[in-house]
Amino acid sequence: MSRTPLDTVEHAAGTPDVELPWAELGLKKDEYERVVEILGRRPTGAELAMYSVMWSEHCSYKSSKVHLRQFGEKAPRSDAMLVGIGENAGVVDVGQGYAVTFKVESHNHPSYVEPYQGAATGVGGIVRDIIAMGARPVAVVDPLRFGAADHPDTKRVLPGVVAGIGGYGNCLGLPNIGGEVVFDACYQGNPLVNAGAIGVMRHEDIHLAKASGTGNKVILYGARTGGDGIGGASILASETFDDAKPSKRPAVQVGDPFQEKLLIECTLEAFREKLVVGIQDLGAAGLSCATSELASNGSGGMRVTLDDVPLRDSTLSPEEILMSESQERMCAVVEPEKVDRFLEICEKWDVIATVIGEVTDGDRLEIYWHGGKIVDVDPRTVAHDGPVYERPYARPDWQDALQADDANKLPRPQTSEELKDQVLRLVGSPNQASKQWITQQYDHFVQGNTVLAQPEDSGMIRIDEETGLGVAIATDGNGRYAKLDPYTGAQLALAEAYRNVATTGAKPLAVSDCLNFGSPEDPAVMWQFAEAVRGLADGCLQLGTPVTGGNVSLYNQTGEAAIHPTPVVAVLGVIDDVARRTPAAFQEEGQLIYLLGDTREEFGGSAWSQVVHDHLGGLPPKVDLERERLLGEILISASRDGMIDSAHDLSDGGLVQAVVESALLGGKGARLVVPDGLDAFTFLFSESAGRAVVAVPRSEELRFTDMCGVRGLPATRVGVVDGDTVELQGEFTLTLEELRETHEATIPALLA
């Protein structure tokens, strides 16, 4: 068999006229010309592979970068931030010498193509991001969005995604404590599978992704490298250099959670023995990303011998090895005298580990294959100097009409009977129904530190057994609100996640986000994106919760139809003693139910407008972040001082949804009275922000209402925890049994 000569740097310099398939690899003409300009010659095939994948939208954030800068520019002053945007995940000080790292990422496109593996590898990737910061992962959360619940394809995608998250996450020994499941026809061809993880470490154990110290060794460890996720590189390999070998391989990677579990344990053991100088996980763009990022963030250069990479498929070309997205791999930088010990630990855990290169004193990333130099680049140009686009954006011409289509003018229930019927339709609708069928496929208990898990307002994990120090996390997003007004919609997502954390008694500290949007090439989508980022950055500044990192997923679009703009916001909080946490379930009969905050006629984007009228129009609820902060402070004080026994945030579905959930969780009913100044319908279904319902023991009533009065938070007594029905005086009575049946039957009936 004849082989074309290896495309080394030297060869490339001597053959300037060779045509490379840059367009097939996704580069634009001017981007390719930029590569040639940077290098002063045409790139080698391997270099082209690296640039093309690192300059992709997914890795370079080229469309979103100009907007994301606001998160840094508008960042509130916060003493809690230890590491900010740019590292694998941000790090937040939670006190007592502990630091917490957390992040949410998307795995949307792969999960549509192959739901099980797409979702599974999403969990794997986010968990590796967390360990790459030096942290022990302690929990995962999964915000999910699917097409219409009764669409046949949802029955293909959802069970696969849920089984994938469970199948992978459960094997890692990480409790799944939160997330969301939302259905909307706009996600039909573009489900959103976002995955979040939290990790904990001591301050002194923070590890950063950089290769420093000349002579330090670069160790690749974990799974062997195979041909998965290298669609683009295959083009390069087969068309340009050698068309005699197999190259068609699946574009969605396949996960092995067992390998990942070993990777976690052996990495943490290496951390404990202080063997690691720098570390990076291999995710998107595999070795291309890991080597260029490690080298560009460090002080020196790096030399890598690609022949030393353990392969699952010996026919892989160097370009494919550089681009492979095989899962469960990490790259560590280790001082020479500690390499033996590092390899020993890997061997103890049966993890393959290989020295593939070393840190050099230059500033070049050089990669060798079969003795020839096939990459010689300034790693910064690969990792950080990608193209930046100022994509045009414009408020879509349909936005005014959408906002003018006022949901407040929709026909409302006229009789008690209609009101009752609509309550049942709401609590049994797919979005409001119990997600237990889904969440019980996830392990909530492992590690023995789970204080709260879904369906609580936030998931809560104890991180110190002696002191009871804990962290809480909530993720929220409402694409319907954001469609009506992306700026406000993003702030509402932030407000809800913030409120959810405070509702459980934890103090909100920091934010991570996962921004899911349609095509950035559509000026209307780009406007939604720009508005949402602006709203979120402004909101974080006002609430004093910095954005520590996040992820952007664009091109969630089929043809002309983009998804609703869907910024998903994760808020992390801290609680000094988890014994003070506030659950959502009603605890004791006789306790008084108080509604906190102001209720207005706000139905734009509401669950009621969707369930009863299949309507989306008008304006989303108003946001008042100062009010959110006050509400949060009251909820936290009340929890700390034992003034409330349960609390539940009011969001989609309004008060009735919250009360029904608290009642079903506690197995105790409620008698409600419409307060003065409100009608029954608005009382039950309004989605005004900045509200919560709390149950107050009678002995604490005065103290609690005094506190709210002094601080200026409206607190209205609306009922009492009582019996085995939910009753709205003068209107209707529903038994808990009937409510439970309605609330819990929907999802299994559609999906089981």
Partner: protein, 234 residues
């Protein structure tokens, strides 16, 4: 005085830390054991915890049963060493033939994680002395392959000899944790060997040892206080 109770870590073990915590909370001394190490380090009892040992890609517990540490566990269990197998540990015990029968995939084909009602059927084993026979307890269940099966003769023998240690309680609402969660024959959740030193069950007592944490119940703690009492009084 106290007792030393070992917890084996296989690659893929998940609840090893939790099991050691439960042992500590019960007042005994937890000892970490390693799958490649045949030495049990003079422990007085052993817990095989939950997880996916060696990935469980072949059949749950099938590979772990051949690990070096299990050679010793099997030998000493036959000589009377108390051994508790939880979830994957139970699967390993059946693979090792220390307990009869085996586990198949749940009849509904999904992983299930929930608070589960159990009835203690046998309070005379080394691990159940602090319960009373007939007592109903609630502890978390979480597994993919939890459906206990055995041939008719074995089932009859287990029933006749009172060796069904725990049964799923079926007369109540699923929402409250009642019901057979996986199609186990005779609603069997856990069994004991004839001598009462080897006990295996699918639900996780180590996840129910602290108020506030998990389900907030401590119904699982008596497993660990039972064995401690037995070892200390022996």
């Amino acid at each position: 005085m106290t007792a030393r109770i070992g917890v084996v870590t296989f690659p893929g073990s998940l609840d090893d830390r939790d099991s050691r915590r439960a042992i500590r909370l019960a007042g005994a001394e937890p000892v970490a054991l390693w799958h490649k190490d045949k030495d049990l380090h003079q422990v007085d009892a052993v817990v095989l915890c939950g997880g996916f040992s060696y990935g469980d890609y072949l059949r749950a517990g099938a590979i772990a049963r051949f690990s070096p540490v299990m050679d010793t566990v099997i030998e000493q269990a036959k000589a009377g060493l108390p051994v508790l197998g939880i979830c994957n540990g139970f699967q390993i015990l059946t693979e090792a033939h220390l307990l009869p029968g085996g586990m198949l995939g749940n009849d509904h084909l999904h992983f299930i994680c929930r608070d589960q009602k159990l009835r203690v059927e046998n309070a005379d084993t080394a691990w159940t002395g602090d319960y009373t026979a007939g007592q109903e307890i609630s502890i978390p269940l979480k597994n993919m392959d939890g459906r206990y099966v055995a041939d008719r003769r074995t089932l009859d023998e287990l029933e006749a000899e009172g060796r069904v240690a725990f049964r799923y309680v079926t007369d109540g609402e699923a929402a409250d944790g009642y019901g057979n969660p996986n199609g186990s024959l005779n609603d069997i959740a856990g069994i004991t060997n004839a001598a009462g030193n080897v006990v295996g069950l699918m639900p996780h007592p180590e996840h129910a040892v602290e108020p506030l944490i998990g389900t907030g119940r401590t119904d699982g703690l008596p497993f660990f206080t039972s064995i401690l009492k037995k070892l200390v009084s022996a």
